[in-house]
Symmetry: C2
Subunit: 578 residues, 2 copies
């Protein structure tokens, strides 16, 4: 084969080929960054993005969430995923952009804890469906009080990162939730006044296990006890048969899915329902303003430039948290800056002085009501509900700050008696369940700071064995949660938390406290076992002892019996004191 | 503190807060995704992005690259970084967008091996500088034959992801390269006819070691033997003193940087130069078209819709690689589609049929001249130049394909005799050097498929000890390179290669071949050592043997001497035969 002649570029020829890359094109090519690297993960990511959005919307509107997840296999490697919620619904004009434009949303520009934060997820799922099957994303949405619902089909124009609307109709759709039968008795479906249903068809694969949709939904129900979740997966007949055989073979328990004989819609595959454990919507976290100590010089300059305030002093006290009028004045004085200066006309030098002055000024920590922890009681209850174990504990740390962003960590631990729980063995690494802003994280554990923190703790000190630099071994489940106004994920797929030293430190403290409590329990159990062993040993000898004493002291039979009793009482007392 | 009343959102109130997020805003908040998570890494990432661009530009223009990297400390935690190249220069109109707009460039939309691929890096570095110091990116550029150079200062308007030009002047600047003295004799600086210089000031930290700018540049010179690289770092007086003390204390060798007494520009800190080892610019890889087997249904539909061809048959043969007119016809027939149909008007069903037909058609693998491997000879030479060792080998695999993208892997290995190389010990894990498209990867080794592949190989079979699931131990450097038209990185900072099974498999094969060669060497060395030991033992006894024989056979002294000689010869021969 003859080699083509080499083209030598010049500045001009290169210039002709420079062009803008739309963010959709970028992520289409880099879809593994968004959690669409393989068919199995694609299914989980899609469900996750839709459920996260549904939960956020319900909570913001103060609605007790009811969510239904239906997965229908349409061909060997194709699935149609529908997620319905009873949230506030979405106004018509916003629907196309929310579902078919990357980087669009309401959560990015505010500092408040929420599951979604990027405005990428659900549009990316739709884009993946479109890429692999050529189909559109279908949205049904009804807002409260409106007479009809909207039914809209959209695709992404990836070159422009803009929605293309393929269908836009009025519809009399209502969100309906089918519940699993209780004690064999069917439960009437519930219809909500408002809500949204999104349907995406995509190339995917359904595999049970630790990285499956089932697992994601189960964990989701644990950390969201106010959520009522309905779920079913309808496989094609062929796949169902394979599943059934595989299940019998491996004796794996069916987590939630059921098997259909007919893959047609309207079939009667039953639903699985995770009932809610509380009727209380969690406290809505408050939105906060940026804390001055977390703002870089360039950001400060931009904020001043865009400030609606008339004076620097006002800008400082209004645009930032924890800066009172008085503190603002103090900062201006320290920076030798006229507090009445127009913030939009501050020179570079003056901003630098201001930046330095802020760094030198003591300020209160950011307000913490922007965070909504799960809480120690709820974590422990969740673990008790899901995991058979011997010892449970949970720790919620006080909030603190990384890069100006408030965050807190909490952890829970369930330790089983070896042999009590078939899923947990003493020889294997403990099971680590990770959560960020109440969202379960299943993938990329190795890259997560939670894993790193758990491996960095010296668990040997708490009675567990631990290979160097790894997770400890033992029949234990460890649950870790981080709540923040901005969780720093290692990638757009939001599966692992980045290694900020402040976060790792907090995690380690939290896990150490759990470890100490475990250690107390294990010690006590060990001591009790030891004492029990001794006691049984002693009990064996009490009659002989009594007999001996009787001989020596020349006692009566009655006295001997009394002596045995006394000795038993003595033993009992000693035992209790240990 | 009284709790603020809870705001309950409605569909309408939520709609009011939905808005577009610019890609700059996104990455500003998520800057750890781009490699700007800490000050030390920020410095390395900036140098890396600028050097990568410079090398790409030089190679595309067929220019032997000459690059100078100057880092000047301006305050305790502030550095000014300047990178100058002798590339083709950049036309004025393109400069602002190339340096102050994320997702802009010439490399994203083509399938060709290059260092840059996203159009993010250098603008992100500028954005980071702007964020942390409020300064602008300064670009000087001169194209060949133009009378003047352009001097442009830009910042990013992060809300719009668009450049703001702060200064735009003509200048008589020429790219100048200062070289290190040779044998103490100063070398005259060289002036190039065209080139670009970019200067960014940022919050950063300079720390030597495995993750430093020094290491990056050193490795860069190794895999780019056609590059002449000049480097110096000018520290402030205080930092220089600390450095000096630290260096004396730890006895660390000064890699490249020198210490200034005066931090002012124009100082006389000498340059370090990595001289080029060859005057041959590497073969320019060819641009290719997408391979039909790597294209998903949705992408196929979009390509047909946008095709300039008039018929489906022509579209297939012109827009894809490895599809001849004849094959195109065959595909159309298999899909029961009129080959003369207009490709822009294909229905969904027809596209699906076409997609299936393509999958069922046998096609040649994608052309491989889009890849430019380093080559076994160059890898081995690079290792010999940099690492004192006993055994060197290198393997370049044939190209293959993941997701339709051609790629190839190559690896080299340097094994030192224990004790010969102070940097390499038998007890520690081997050192793994990773490269992608000739760019050294320093960070995030744990997340990289190269690490995974190296740990998955059974090195015990090749004579090394290896903890389970980890890198082997031993005095060894392993160099791994992947070349592809699209390297799938795990994040935008391009530090680790994603876990595509095809890639891991190729890497493992490549490393196994290196391992086998190492094993042959180690076996031979062991056998030789064994034989040597035996020989020395025998030699000790030859005189006694001869004396004994002399007594028994009643020989003369002369005969005895001849006998000793004969015995020695015999031993020699036996030794050589082993």
């Amino acid at each position: 084969m003859r080699k083509k002649p080499m083209v030598q570029e010049t500045a001009e020829s290169l210039a002709g080929r420079q062009r803008e890359i739309s963010v959709s094109e970028f992520f289409l090519k880099n879809r593994h960054l968004l959690g669409f690297d393989n068919p199995r993960k694609a299914l989980m990511t899609t469900v996750k993005e839709a459920v996260d959005n549904a939960l956020d919307a319900c909570e913001e509107a103060g609605i007790l969430p009811q969510i239904s997840v239906e997965i229908q296999q349409t061909a060997d490697t194709r699935f149609r995923v529908s997620i319905t919620d009873n949230g506030p619904g979405i106004v018509r004009a916003q629907i196309p952009k929310i579902f078919a434009k990357l980087l669009y949303g309401s959560k990015f520009h505010r500092l408040r804890m929420s599951r979604g934060q990027q405005g990428i997820g659900i549009s990316a799922a739709g884009m993946y469906g479109q890429l692999t099957t050529g189909t559109s994303t279908r949205i049904l949405s009804r807002t409260k009080g409106s007479k009809t619902a909207h039914a809209i089909d959209v695709q992404i124009d990836t070159r422009k990162n803009m929605p293309t609307i393929l269908k836009d109709e009025e519809s009399d759709w209502h969100p309906v939730f089918y519940q699993a039968a209780i004690d064999g008795k069917p439960v009437e479906p519930v219809t909500a006044k408002s809500g949204t249903c999104v349907t995406i068809e995509m190339e995917a694969a359904y595999v049970r296990g630790r990285l499956s949709v089932d697992e994601y939904l189960k964990q989701c129900a644990v950390v969201n006890p106010h959520l009522q979740l309905h779920y079913r997966i309808v496989l094609t007949r062929a796949a169902a048969r394979d599943e059934e055989e595989g299940r019998k073979g491996s004796k794996a328990k069916a987590a939630a899915a059921e098997v259909a004989e007919e893959p047609a819609p309207g079939n009667d595959v039953p639903w699985t329902t995770f009932l809610r454990a509380t009727n209380q919507v969690p406290d809505q976290p408050q939105e906060i303003k940026p804390h001055p100590h977390g703002v870089e010089l360039g950001m400060l300059m931009q904020m001043l430039k865009n400030s609606p305030a008339r004076t620097v002093r006002a800008a400082l006290s209004q645009d930032f948290s924890r800066v009172s009028e008085k503190t603002a004045l103090e900062i201006c004085e320290r920076a030798k800056l006229n507090p009445k200066a127009n913030p939009t006309r501050i020179a570079h030098q003056e901003s630098e002085a201001l930046f330095k002055a802020i760094a030198e000024t003591k300020l209160m920590r950011p307000p913490m009501d922007c965070l909504s922890p799960i809480g120690e009681a709820a974590i422990e209850a969740g673990l008790r509900k899901e995991i058979v174990a011997d010892f449970y504990t949970a720790v919620t740390r006080s909030p603190t700050v990384y890069r100006g962003n408030p965050f807190l960590v909490e952890a829970g631990l369930a330790y089983a008696k070896p042999g009590d729980n078939a899923d947990l063995t003493a020889e294997e690494p403990i099971r680590l369940m990770r959560f960020a802003n109440r969202v379960p994280l299943l993938y990329m554990a190795g890259a997560c700071s939670m894993n790193k923190a758990a491996a960095s703790v010296n668990w040997k000190a708490y009675g567990l064995s631990q290979p160097r630099g790894s997770l400890p071994l033992g029949p234990m489940v460890l649950m870790v949660h981080i709540a923040s106004v901005w969780v720093p994920f290692t990638s757009e797929s939001k599966e692992a938390v980045a290694h900020y030293p402040e976060i790792i430190k907090e995690l380690a403290f939290c896990l150490q406290e759990c470890g100490r409590r475990l250690s107390v329990f294990l010690h006590k159990r060990q001591r009790l076992a030891e004492a029990d062993r001794k006691r049984q040993y002693m009990e064996l000898y009490i009659p002989h002892l009594a007999l001996g004493l009787k001989d020596i002291l020349d006692l009566k039979d009655r006295d001997e019996q009394a002596l045995v009793k006394q000795l038993h009482t003595l033993l009992e007392r000693t035992h209790l004191e240990t």
